[in-house]
Amino acid sequence: MRFGFLCKERGGARGRVAIVGAGPAGLAAAGYLACQGYEVDVYDKLPYPGGMMMFVIPSFRIPRDSIVEGVEDLEKRLSVKFVLKTKVFEGDDRHDEGDDFVERRVPLSKLVEEYDVVLITTGTWRSRSMGIEGENALGVVPALEYIYRWWLYEAKLTNEKPFIAKRVVVIGGGLAAIDAAEVALKRGAEEVFLVYRRTIREAPAGEYEIRRLVREGVNWIELAQPKRIVVENNVARGVEFVRMRLGEPDESGRPRPVPIPGSEFVIEADLVVPAIGEEPTPPMKSEVLGIKLDKRGRIVVDHEYRTGNEKVFAAGDVVTGPSMVGRATGSGLRAARAIDRFLRARLRTG
């Protein structure tokens, strides 16, 4: 992934840009801006750039050397600087997934002061909670964290052996659920259940991915919603589900799943992996420095990727909610072009 694909050599633009978050949006923006000639510093809480592409998406989907080559090209050829293991946040900290490596904390306001522009591309690094009894028991591990820990272990970034289990229940119907179920299967689980509250036709991951996993040996159970985690001595022993039926379409246009009373059943498991979606993780808990968040925690931007703060732009999943590598990349590129326009206009008007 050659983020600096737009130039042979750096251009002559002048200015300093800080990018917070080294995922696809941040790296694509870094490549664009460095090609223009700006001095670009990229901050990330993880020990290596790449974000989800490096630490969550399984390597059989994205080969890691593809990211490493692109990052090294940014560093060596385009003089982009990476400030890693550093969490940028304004106000009281919030624990997100992937925070384990943080060694330094920098307030966002400090970057806003020091740089000409700050671009926020911090993505969605929090698993949505299910809001059911027993959710905090041992043996309940959100999909993001589950996949991420396996990757850290296999990349030898930690000696801590990840969660190993014989019977794994994955809850959800998106790509994170698919990847978690596949990781479980490949790492020696005997039985893997993938449970979704609607049917295969509504599952965001799509029929193809689900059928592929069924062929690999995953048990697909549809029209079931978790009611509580069965816990013994604070350890998860299984999940109680209730059967669902499809009702009238909801706000998303998909049929709303409705519980069928008295249809409860339990699947025994020693590991429960909720994968019911990720939430935006902006570097603040609520409105700060003029940067506004919407009801779902996403940073509010205008069509030029500007936040309410003149010097702060935002792009990628932290603006759109969970999407895909390509969507985040496109968003980062467009934001970078907007930043370039902003800085050039400011230079002209002095």
């Binding site: 992934m1 050659r2 983020f3 694909f5 737009l6 130039c7 042979k8 696809p24 694509a28 592409m53 989907r61 994205i62 080969p63 593809s66 990211i67 295969i200 965001p204 991951a205 799509g206 029929e207 193809y208 991915e209 689900i210 059928r211 895909m324 590598v325 390509g326 969507r327 990349t329 496109g330 590129l333 467009r334 072009r337």
Partner: protein, 161 residues
């Protein structure tokens, strides 16, 4: 130099990076696009830049032509929007713009002029799109195939090592 672009559909993860980069480079119009083939299985399609390109033969004004790298490109000044090329193309690639001329993938002419790779090739996270001289591209496909059939053998050596 005659060049080839080949998409490895097994490696492609359907992430939209090629489409988004292309759209970014071409005034909001993507010349490589993903389509859902079956239940969320998405793959990109773009011009194959045929050696004997039916669109070039069909074009009555010479607007559709081959450039030095073998890319099939349109000269919008000569295009009359007759859509012959659209009828001739077996893959549904050329498109008529609202302004009345045809556009299609030009393998990023502007980037190639600077000695750079087309955007989709450079940015694919899965390294699924290769582009270059015929020799280079076929060699990479052959090596990929060999790595695939030898994988179990290599794996068994690694396990003992």
């Amino acid at each position: 130099m005659r060049t080839l672009r080949v998409i490895n559909y097994d490696a492609c993860i359907g992430c939209y990076t090629c489409e988004e980069v292309c759209r970014f480079l071409h005034e909001d119009r993507a010349y490589i696009k993903l389509y859902d083939v079956y239940g969320g299985l998405r793959k990109p399609i773009s011009c194959f830049h045929c050696y004997t390109a039916p669109c070039v033969y069909a074009c009555p004004t010479g607007a559709m032509h081959k450039d030095r790298d073998g890319a099939t490109v349109v000269d919008p000044r000569r295009c009359i929007g007759c859509t012959c090329c659209i009828a001739a193309c077996p893959f549904g690639i050329p498109e008529l713009t609202p302004l009345g001329y045809v556009t299609k993938c030009d393998l990023c002419s502007d980037l190639r002029k600077q000695g750079l790779d087309p955007g989709c090739v450079a940015m694919c996270p899965a390294k699924a799109i290769s582009w270059g001289s015929m020799e280079k591209v076929v060699e990479s496909i052959r090596k990929r195939f060999l790595a695939k059939i030898m994988a179990p053998t290599i794996e068994s050596v690694r396990e003992t090592g």
